[in-house]
Amino acid sequence: MRVVLGEDLYLLREGLARLLEAHGCEIVAAVGDGPSLLAAMLEHRPDVALVDVRLPPTFTDEGLKAALAARERIPGLPVLVLSQYVERLYARELLADGAGAVGYLLKDRVFDAAQFVDAVRRVAGGGTAMDPEVIAKLLARGASEPLGMLTPREREVLGLMAEGRSNAAIAAKLVVTERAVAKHTSNIFSKLDLPPSDDDNRRVLAVLAYLDR
């Protein structure tokens, strides 16, 4: 996998590069500010770009803006945004174009290397990786009618699905069979009145759009 890194703190940039290289990725560019990040993304067209939200020169949401601008020029360019904070507002902006291939994670998720690399691969493959904290907020807020009809187990499955995990991954995490997960998901979709779909990513985007109403 060819990766572009945008992170201004040297320690974290090096740490991420080392981690990804250990998992067989190739770092084609590692930059520390917004304009050069945008240039690197457009020039290298990486399999995935890892982007920190807050970058120089403005130290505002420079990285997020660069990611959105790059995806405007190259629709569906895989971007995984990393931040010290997760904001629903930013998650919404990343998901707005409906093209998928986006991720939005807390920097702490890097601690669990296997999980993190899995998220990177998922985004590179056109999937989604949403931070559990964003999903928890979405679920907590939507204690509305249809969500209230879900069983606790179904809510758990819904949360994992919204993070962007496949049926197989959910099954492994909850230690149940994939058949059981498939049954849960089809129940969830009929209860929430969502169009059924076999495409993992389309399914995730539908769930996220539903939760973010």
Binding site: A69, Q84, Y85, R88, Y90, D108
Partner: protein
Amino acid sequence: MAGKFGQRRGRSLLRSWFTATGHGWALLGVSVWHAVVFTFVIGSISVSSIGAGLVLLPPSLVLLRKAANAARQRASKWSGVEIAVPYQPLPEPGVNFASKTARLWAQMSDPQTWRDLAWAILDPLVGAFLASLAAGLFLYGVYGYVIGIFWDPLTHAGMNDWYTFIHVGQAGHLTFLRWCAIPVGTAFIAGSVWAAPALIRTHGRWTAVLLGPTTQARQEALTHRVARLTATRADAVDTQAAELRRIERDLHDGAQARLVAMGMNLGAAEALLDKHPEAARALLVEAREASAKALTELRELVRGIHPPVLADRGLGDAVRALALDSALPVEVTVDVPGRLEPAVESAAYFAISELLTNVSKHAHARSVRIDLWHRDQRLRVTCTDDGRGGAAVAGVDGTPVGAERAGGTGLAGIERRIGTFDGVMAVHSPVGGPTTVTLEIPCVSSLAKTSTS
């Protein structure tokens, strides 16, 4: 080129004359109304000895205030003279006799009420004179033409045969002088074109004499403002100090302690690595978990100091993010160009956050609306909920905390928070709702473009 310029200038002169003359007529008409209002108030006062005044006086005073406020607005719109509204605050209108009397008394004892009254009777004289000059000069000029040309039938119809200082006819004979009426009339017309806007400006200044604050009132307002700023500054300093202590404590007991524990764990793991690799692994896992917890704590702490979205995007998007995280459906409209001063942004953000918390705790509302806009160097925020109302600000003017919404201290806290910036808060919350809280904070906006994609 010069010709063009002259044409443009002539056109704008004519336009300003037209509007000024129109305003002159309007002021003339409205001054008659002021005389009517004056008569109504004086009449109500004179019959108050037989008790009818208590019925007639309140509406007559409302009418007087309305007329005065309308005149203040006209002065600002037509003459560019800004007149501050100098009334003393009134107690809320009540339903029972006692509160009605208290309100009436407060109105009667406000010196501005009497200045209004003086203005209402003088305006038909002074104001009308100024206003009618603006309109009348022109008419008199036109009359010069009329008398110069149609002198004969006019004098036969019994009209006066003088035009200003020109005796246009004598004993039924035309004099050559009658033709002089035309240039003199022209001079009057030209004079009116030149003088009308100035007269309307003078009228605005005359209005300010009686309807604007007196020097004493201005001084009192300043004294009051200084007192308020001193109090809010002391509050701000205390709050700031308390905040710093809280941050220090949180760091000390939270992240710092966790980092110490992590260091110990790592040291122990290092010692165990060769002999008991399994135990060392367990310690390493523990250290990693501790670091994640420390990070979570730091995140919460930073959010409480300065929310990241506020730093990145400014007030509008920060409030939108607040709305997204709120348990209630919140509709946000933002009309704030550029970025505001960071301190004001922060104060407004936390005030709005507090308002939302208040609503979800006490109001039993189904939905909330927040509107932000920035005009005339002031940030205005309104927060409207469809809850059960009855909110009150504790400790302001000795108002008891609304029984419906105990814990109105939140509102008082917000008032203190924005008071530091000369901001004001108004709460309108009838029992049964809806509740509207309005905040207004003076501040400038940098028109730095912040695009929100």
